[in-house]
Amino acid sequence: MTKDITLDYVSVQFGDYVAVDGAHLTIQGGEFFSFLGPSGCGKTTLLRCISGFQEPTAGQIRIGGKDMRGIGPNKRPTALIFQNLALFPLMSVADNIAFPLEVRGVDRKTRRRRADELLELIALSGQGDKRISELSGGQKQRVAIARALAVEPDILLLDEPLSALDLKLRQHMRRELRAIQKQVGLTFIYITHDQGEALTMSDRVAVMSRGRIEQVGDARAVYDQPRTAFVASFVGENNALTGRVLGRENGLSTLDLGLPAPVRVATASGPGAKLAPGAECMAFVRPEALRPCAPDAPNAFPATVIREEFEGAQRHLVLETPGPGPAAGPAAGPAAPRELRMTLVNDDRDAAFGPGAAISVGFAPDMACALPPGELASA
């Protein structure tokens, strides 16, 4: 019963504005797939294409091998959960859930039975006669899911459904959504700008920027092996250092990043492996990959502590190191200071650093990556 969804070079253009640019991927049936990107990256437009509210200007969308062009949203095997849920305020909870059945002419008794089944699934048994306004945010969320599941669609599309909830509830709903997805075995296509949501729930994530799909992979791949500067800077926090490739051997590239000494970064695979000596590059070092170290350790460089942000389990240190910032090219000269972030676990291994302390920090070569220069995600 599971149907693959294929986006075959789908583009959407509004006048001169390209909202989606050649999206090309296949989502496996039964997968929890997320589109992750900042607002305006085209992810909602893409979702509207899959649900049938928007026709692509170019390309083809196939669901279970069937071309969806010209098929309206009410005829597709998809169910969309809107950002604001779009529950019907004038109907009871059960009537909301049974609405898809009602419009298909299912009789009242069957509708009620199916609504009760779904209420049980979302742990709201016996609350079918309540009004929508009597429910809490999380309950409304679950009612929206139940309503979408009422006619057993093949694919559930979710447009940032958790964005209106507070943090605790959001984290709870992540687990719940994932559990419901496993239970019903449907394909979930999830749209979000919240990488935490995308990474924790999804089997695979497509990271989008400016209408283009930058990278598709599981959570670890997009976090640990970003393929573009945008992905590296958008998914999780990252320190970007611009520089130049000096040489490459044994899967390690030597980079001049404007630091006192060249550093070595693992480039065994991925786009970094294609960087030839002399090429401009961007190196990315995660805050948690940076560590205080001896001044003569490999990849060590001096830095000055600007301030410490204490967050309980973690300590974030804002460091300054001479060299070109992420925005400037190598031409900006080595003198311009740049900020780096270092995250330490709050145990007693590392001393407290006061502002102004001069320390040495470094990173393991395989904890960083080198990529061709590209646009960074704006903070």
Binding site: P73, A79, F82, Q83, F99, V103, R104, A150
Partner: protein, 310 residues
């Protein structure tokens, strides 16, 4: 009562004493002088005999149900049977007002929906303007224009015959087509704007959600948009119905030879008959029946009176 006082105290605090006094006076004058007093005067009139001025205030000037008796039972010479003519005209008027209301609703709902959810920017403003501008022309002129349009040698007959659609002039005026068209047109704005206001506030996602869940376009309207717009529909329908039932100029000008609108009877009693008490009684009957009918409809369609004020 204390709630009312708290409201006034809060109102004075927020707006200052002069504004509060002005608004208080304006509301009082509006409600008492312009609404309640004339109606009370009419009510008082309706329970009196029709006396020449010299006898007013004299011993014969007593309260009586004579005028209402006349409406229901006709003149005493008639033998005490029901006053079938006047009661018949009242029902015909109500029926016609219902018909006009339904026509306006049918015309305005799609327009209001398009205006609220499809027309954007300049196109939307142009549509609203196109709706309003015709109402700058005064009512009598518009009614006569319709008469000319629908007359035996009017544009519509001429065009229809020229195109060979019909051979002899159709008596649109005699068949009340002109009357219904004129009345429907006269109050169309009073239907459009409440509908527009109601539909406009509907979250577009609800429409899309219904579509996504398999509803056809008609089902979307029937099950989502119309229930949501019900207060607006009630508000617009009430206004159109009340004003149509109380219209005088349009029926006078556009009504066919056999047509008699209830307001015309009222007018005749006041003006031609010189019988103000009877005219008042008829007017009160019209008012009471209209209010009763509206209340009944609101109960049938489960709209609360408060919803109309939205």
């Amino acid at each position: 009562m204390s709630g009312l006082r708290a409201f006034f105290a809060g109102f004075v605090d927020r707006n200052g004493l002069p504004v509060a006094i002005y608004l208080g006076l304006a509301v009082t004058i509006w409600v008492f002088l312009l609404v309640a007093l004339p109606q009370l005067a009419m009510l008082d009139f309706s329970f009196r005999h029709n006396l020449p001025p010299s006898k007013m205030g004299g011993p014969e000037d007593v309260y009586t149900l004579e005028q209402y008796r006349y409406f229901f039972l006709g003149s005493e010479i008639g033998g005490g049977d029901w006053n079938a003519l006047d009661i018949g005209v009242l029902f015909k008027t109500l029926l016609a007002a219902v018909a006009v209301t339904l026509i306006d609703l049918a015309i305005c709902y799609p327009v209001a929906y398009l205006l609220a959810h499809s027309a954007r920017g300049a196109a939307g403003r142009l549509m609203v303007l196109a709706l309003i501008v015709p109402f700058w022309v005064n009512e009598i002129l518009r009614a006569f224009a319709f008469r000319i349009l629908f007359g035996a040698t009017g544009v519509i007959n001429e065009a229809g015959m020229a195109m060979g659609l019909w051979s002899a002039p159709i008596d649109f005026v005699g068949e009340d087509v002109a009357l219904y068209a004129g009345l429907s047109y006269a109050y169309i704005l009073l239907m459009i704007f409440p509908l527009y206001n109601a539909i406009e506030s509907l979250d577009r996602n609800q429409i899309e959600a219904a579509r996504d869940m398999g509803a056809s376009r008609i089902q979307v309207h029937w099950k989502v948009v119309i229930p949501y717009a019900k207060p607006g529909i009630a508000s617009g329908s009430t206004m159109v119905f009340m004003l149509t039932a109380g219209a005088l100029a349009a029926p006078q000008i556009l009504g066919g030879p056999s047509n008699l609108w209830f307001t015309q009877i009222v007018y005749q009693w006041f003006n031609d008959g010189g019988n103000w008490p009877r005219g008042s009684a008829y007017a009160i009957v019209l008012l009471a029946v209209c209010i009763g009918f509206v209340m009944l409809m609101m109960r049938v369609f489960r709209v609360s009176i408060g919803a109309i004020g939205r």
